[in-house]
Structure formats: C-alpha cells, structure tokens
Symmetry: C2
Subunit: 125 residues, 2 copies
Amino acid sequence: MSDPVVLYVCTTCRDAADPADGPRAGARLHDALAAALAARPGAPVTIEPVECLSVCKRSCTVAVASPGRWTYVYGDLDPATSADIILDGIGLYAGTPDGIVPWRERPQEFRKGVVARIPPAPVNA
Amino acid sequence: MSDPVVLYVCTTCRDAADPADGPRAGARLHDALAAALAARPGAPVTIEPVECLSVCKRSCTVAVASPGRWTYVYGDLDPATSADIILDGIGLYAGTPDGIVPWRERPQEFRKGVVARIPPAPVNA
C-alpha cells in the first residue's frame, strides 16, 4: 500500500485549561490519538510522542512525515476533539504520492493550523 | 566529515519593503545565501529554493535538514543581513550528531526565529 506515516505528537504542549495536577494538553492529545488509532486497525500510521516541537505558542502541535512526502507541522489543535480529524487528514495525506492534499480536501484544522511544511528529503541524501 | 545539510529557502516570502517590480524578500535571501555559500568553499551545505514553506506570516523563512538530524524551521529572517548568520548556525548544526545545538551557542536569529523542529526520520522508515 502506501508508505508508512509517522505522526509526531508534542506531549509537552500546555493549555490554559490544563488541570494543575493533571496531564498536559499535549499528553492528552497523544492519548486521544492512540485510542483513535487503535480503533482503526491497519491504518499505516505510527504515533511517536515527542518532547517539544518548538511550536510552544500554538499548542497542541503535531508533525506528519513520511518517506518521499512533504512533512507538515500543525498547531492550534484541540486535544478533546481533534484526534479523529487528524487521523482522517493523515489518511488523505497517505493517499497522495507527495503528501500534498488538495486545499479544498484538507480538514479545516489543517488549513488554519498549518505551521510549516518541509520538502521531501532528497532520495540519495 | 559530517552528513550533508540541505538548506531550503522559501523564495515566495514577501516583505513589506519589497519593491513593486523587484524580487521578493525570499528570493533576495536565496541569492544572498548562494553568494555567501560561494565564499565558503567546501561547506557541506546545499541550498534548495522552495516555493512556500507555509510560514507566510513570518517571512523570510528557511528550513535546515540533514539525514539523522532534527529538522529546524526558522522565520523572521532579514534578507539583507542574515545570510552569514544562517550559514554560521548551520555550521554549528552540522557539527552535532543529532542537529541539536546547545541553546547558548545558537545565533540570536535562530533562538527568536524558530518556527518548529521535527525529529530525525526513523532509520528504517
């Protein structure tokens, strides 16, 4: 099928609504994504928790990467509501040869939340 | 020596000071970087112009990538003054095993201008 996709999730991201003694928003987003992915057996996605993607002013934040495809970084994600939206968006991404999903098809969260994109690594790098 | 570093430069970035009929700020930064790199023979850096890194609100923008190292995206760069600063910062980056330069050693432009960072791709991806 398609190449595997890695979904990096910043678990350090804070939110103003974080409980003082509870997990941070980024950790909650990570857990929500893991649960949502478990409900999609066979999805070619690996979730990797990361300590800081350096997008601290736009929590929660993820990065989506795959060999031969553009890497995308997204911010302003809601840990309570965005897990399935993110996985749907990654499904579209995984269905493209280069990672570039037509603008109209992208989830609203990806259109508004895009932080940066980076070209695919050179093949022989 | 060290692995090659790719410096992606957004040539689409605009600046309020852009002349109406002249090259955009991003294109000027690209040209300045190419000239500065030409004055450093042997530097293990390749410059790649890119049409849009999706950091449009923080022009000018570059991304720094290398196999096995973290990728960094930087914005708010001045096309007139930052070319050598960027190349100096890449020199430090190229001297690390993982791309993580100690905070104190990073150029001020990289500290303030960091937009995002992405982990190295998994070795067997």
